[in-house]
């Protein structure tokens, strides 16, 4: 999947295989998200307020960056648009800088020998208004200093 600079790609996709059946993988992915979702510099809309993350099961449920542990409320990262337990999950994606849900995330749980292949696709980037895309790039600091730091980190890790 080599993509040139001329056509803006619409999606990113990544996958892992886990040694549990699709129903279990789906359940752990959704119900245990607060336990496995990794705390990284890019995990939160508001790193100072985020205390967790959770998914409300079922179509129409919310995907929430929890700011208040007592109520479980916080920033709504998206809404579930497809909930096929053990098979497929689709949810819209918003952030503080991309308030309109123009991108979405689909997670598929496909049975493979010995377990489940979990494929996550984040797509719809072509729907981003050019200004929003440029702003997002700027805000995620894929500018020179940031990218260089990221690359240095990356190079250090694979070295």
């Amino acid at each position: 999947m080599s993509t040139g600079h001329h056509t803006a790609p619409d999606a990113v996709s990544t996958a892992v295989e886990v040694a549990v059946d699709p129903a279990t993988a789906f359940r752990v992915f959704t119900a245990d998200m607060g336990a496995w979702y990794k705390d990284t510099p890019y995990s939160w809309n508001d790193p100072d307020r985020a205390v967790g993350i959770r998914i409300e099961p079922g179509v129409g449920g919310r995907w929430i960056e929890v700011w208040d542990a007592a109520t479980g409320e916080g920033f709504t990262m998206g809404t579930i648009t497809a909930w096929e337990a053990g098979r497929r999950l689709v949810m819209t994606y918003t952030s503080r800088r991309i308030p309109d849900p123009v991108t979405e995330i689909e997670v598929r749980f496909d049975p493979v020998p010995g377990g489940t292949r979990v494929t996550l696709e984040h797509r719809g980037f072509r729907n981003l208004p050019p200004d929003t895309a440029a702003e997002e790039v700027a805000h995620t600091r894929v500018g020179e200093p940031y990218l260089l730091a990221w690359l240095a980190d990356h190079l250090g890790r694979i070295a």
Binding site: A19, R27, G34
Partner: protein, 138 residues
């Protein structure tokens, strides 16, 4: 990712990283870059060729004297949407890696507890949760 590969290759060399650092401050002639890192003009020329091929830098003019040719950073590789998407991809790689580590660590109890609702947890627990080294970015 072809472009990212070229970028990573170009930046894998400490001299070239130093050149990029210098060019972040301002455009500079090749001769000055060579002098700044105490390197011969032909050796610097080879590094600049790699950096140009990767698209990280460009020559402002094509004068006859290569040492006077002024180099500067190109912004495109740094600000392209692709670069952001590479980061988005690396982010999800890391998260799915953490998910896999979680499943691996809890496989037995997860199977046993199938059907029961799990309790929500906090990110600090995930961070302290053991073998959740990220998967290598693509």
């Amino acid at each position: 990712m072809t472009d990212l590969d070229a970028t990573l290759t170009a930046l894998a060399d400490p001299t070239r990283r130093k050149v990029v650092d210098l060019l972040r401050q301002s455009p500079r002639p090749a001769g000055e870059l060579a002098a700044s890192v105490a390197m011969s003009a032909p050796a610097m020329s080879r590094h600049l060729r790699v950096l140009r091929a990767s698209g990280l830098v460009e020559a402002e003019t094509d004068g006859d004297d290569a040492r006077l040719r002024v180099y500067r950073l190109r912004r495109e590789p740094f600000t392209a949407l692709q670069a952001w998407l590479d980061q988005v991809q690396a982010f999800w790689n890391e998260q799915l890696g953490a998910f896999k580590a979680h499943v691996d660590a809890h496989a037995v109890e997860s199977q046993a507890a199938a059907g029961e609702p799990a309790e929500p947890a906090r990110p600090s627990q995930a961070a302290a949760g053991g073998p959740d080294e990220p998967a290598a970015p693509a």
